[in-house]
Symmetry: C2
Subunit: 361 residues, 2 copies
């Protein structure tokens, strides 16, 4: 079975085996050492000297944490959205009382930094900008360095959804002055879902000190205090088994080295796009910004996408994802982050080629 959706992603056998280790006291020294080690390795992948906190929850939980720890009800926020996850970020901020200005770009295209600049110029009261680094619903990677440069012209807080990029696509948090970046264990990290990770810059902690949105479970200041003052603990019981898995997956990432992991994803992304074109299909995304972790493909004329995905799943053992939100029934997606090689993508393309004629109505 080839599970090629944009998360959960397949886990290497050793990672799954790591979870057979028995429970330990989450307030004891052994877990403390584990949390310290995992946090240290995460900082390496986030490329930050700031804080990285680990939460038990999904990526959406981490997005909520990013919002409620840095903003107050009534704060003006610019939400830069190029797809379903960008919209979700805006929805969370709105739900917690931020005054959200939505700057949407056509799905399948990246955000334009110049348009972001104009939006920020037109509203000097803006306090923070929400941006998706890699939009999983459309298969686009934003030019986050360029967007960050614009946001920092205005000295604003930059909050980034890096759920499907960090650990697979280069996102140097400190270099790009990202104040809050979030991701989740079931994406490029090669671990099961259940843990979410959030980085916080000094500027983010300054925002935290003033932020008035209600927070309890997601309180990152409390998470930081438990790490620093209680010998590497978490405020609430952590997903211990998922920590075992993530620790092992981080060792594998370190052995491969971050630059080689990024390069592999570049190759795999390219292989996916070339493969798709080679069998006569069209990419949904603007190729100059096509994501190296997920490829979105236009549903070809006369093909029932639901039937195609079912055939692939049942007859070829290849599990792909459909479209999300308003793209449901219009595109389908290949996830290729984490534990994936060009050969895996070759198999996916071969299966697609074989299944396509059968799915034509």
């Amino acid at each position: 079975m080839q599970l090629r959706i944009p998360g959960p992603t397949p886990c290497p056998d050793e990672v799954l085996q790591a979870m057979t280790k028995q429970m330990i006291n989450h307030r004891g020294k052994e877990f403390g050492a584990l949390l310290r080690q995992v946090t240290q390795q995460l900082k390496g992948v986030f490329q930050t000297k700031g804080d990285v906190l680990i939460l038990t929850g999904s990526g959406t939980g981490a997005m909520e944490a990013a919002i409620v720890n840095t903003l107050s009800p009534g704060d003006k926020v610019l939400s830069v959205s190029i797809g379903d996850f960008g919209d979700r970020f805006a929805n969370i901020a709105q739900q917690f009382g931020a005054e959200v200005k939505r700057l949407g770009f056509e799905w399948g295209t990246p955000a334009d930094p110049e348009t972001v600049r104009k939006a920020l110029k037109s509203d000097p009261a803006t306090k923070a900008v929400l941006v998706t680094h890699n939009e999983t619903s459309t298969g686009i990677t934003n030019d986050l360095a360029a967007i960050s440069a614009v946001v920092k012209e205005f000295d604003l807080l930059l909050i980034v959804d890096g759920v499907s990029s960090i650990s697979s696509i280069d996102l140097p948090v400190d270099d790009w002055q990202v104040d809050v970046a979030v991701t989740a264990s079931q994406k490029g990290w090669m671990a099961p879902p259940g843990l979410a990770m959030v980085s916080m810059s000094q500027k983010a902690w300054q925002a935290y000190a003033k932020a008035k949105m209600p927070r309890f479970y997601w309180d990152l200041g409390k998470a930081k205090r438990f790490v620093e003052e209680k010998g590497n603990q978490t405020p609430w019981t952590p997903a211990v088994s998922t920590f075992y898995a993530l620790a092992l997956a981080l060792d594998m990432l370190e052995r491969e080295t971050l630059s080689k992991v990024f390069a592999r994803h570049v190759r795999v992304g390219k292989a996916a796009r070339e493969g798709i074109r080679s069998i006569g299909l069209s990419l949904f995304a603007n190729e100059a910004y096509a994501s190296n972790t997920v490829t979105a493909i236009k549903g070809p004329e006369g093909v029932d996408l639901k039937k195609l995905l079912q055939l692939l799943r049942e007859d070829y053992g290849v599990v792909l994802a459909g479209g999300q939100g308003k793209l449901d029934g219009k595109i389908f997606r290949i996830g290729h982050m984490g534990w994936v090689t060009e050969a895996d993508i070759g198999e996916v393309v071969a299966a697609l080629k074989a299944a396509l004629p059968q799915a034509r109505s």
Copy 2:
């Protein structure tokens, strides 16, 4: 190694092995069948015909979910607290803007239903009552049936922390008219931490419809819609591996039968208390209300508790818990919920007996 803290609790080998299963599509039929099956079994243990929703998070996350899905800022809430977790429930409600009246009872004693009645009579504007069923910090099980009867005289919403009771101590949610009950996978469920479960009565859903506290990740209405309208899905990526583990643990609970599981915990609790007395130690809790999942023991005169717990851990392979909150350094606790027998408790008591003289200063 005997891990006898009140969670995470040891998992049977089969439960740990279940997590070596590879990831699956959380939007596919196989996960849908798993979620449906687990939910069905959970309803059996909760003894409810209402809804049970499963969240990726810890028990504290489920407590937050219970609050934000049923209350609005400014709502008057009576918080009945007999320990650290009761205080936590009040803190969450307060954090999200409820007007919390704290009714605290001496730690080590249960809540008195008559005092609850007086408090409710004195404030007719109260909308909801927060109660801990089993207070893990003090080793007390409240008489929830009696408290519920009082709460229902006033026709109020009853929100219960059953984190360390449900699945180990009888809590018939429907019979006792509990509107919201929460628990978490690492307690009596014999599974690793990472999932939290919440039951919702019809009255709770009526409260949900009016509740104005901000919610996104913990939105139980959304969770219900994803179950009912999307073929048993979760709104956000669930902790798939922990689902595998919980499913297997639920099968084990079913095979043993609920009544026998409860009876086993009664026996184990009794064995813990008798064992403790037999070696000359004193229980912290009022014995008539002593918990059958966790036993709190007074730190004996002249014994350094930190040293005692360290000796037990390092020389006897027995991991116990210290005191929590204001009981830190004053009591220690034996967790005995989930995968535990009287023989396990016998070993713990024997180790304690041997270690005690060494810990006297």
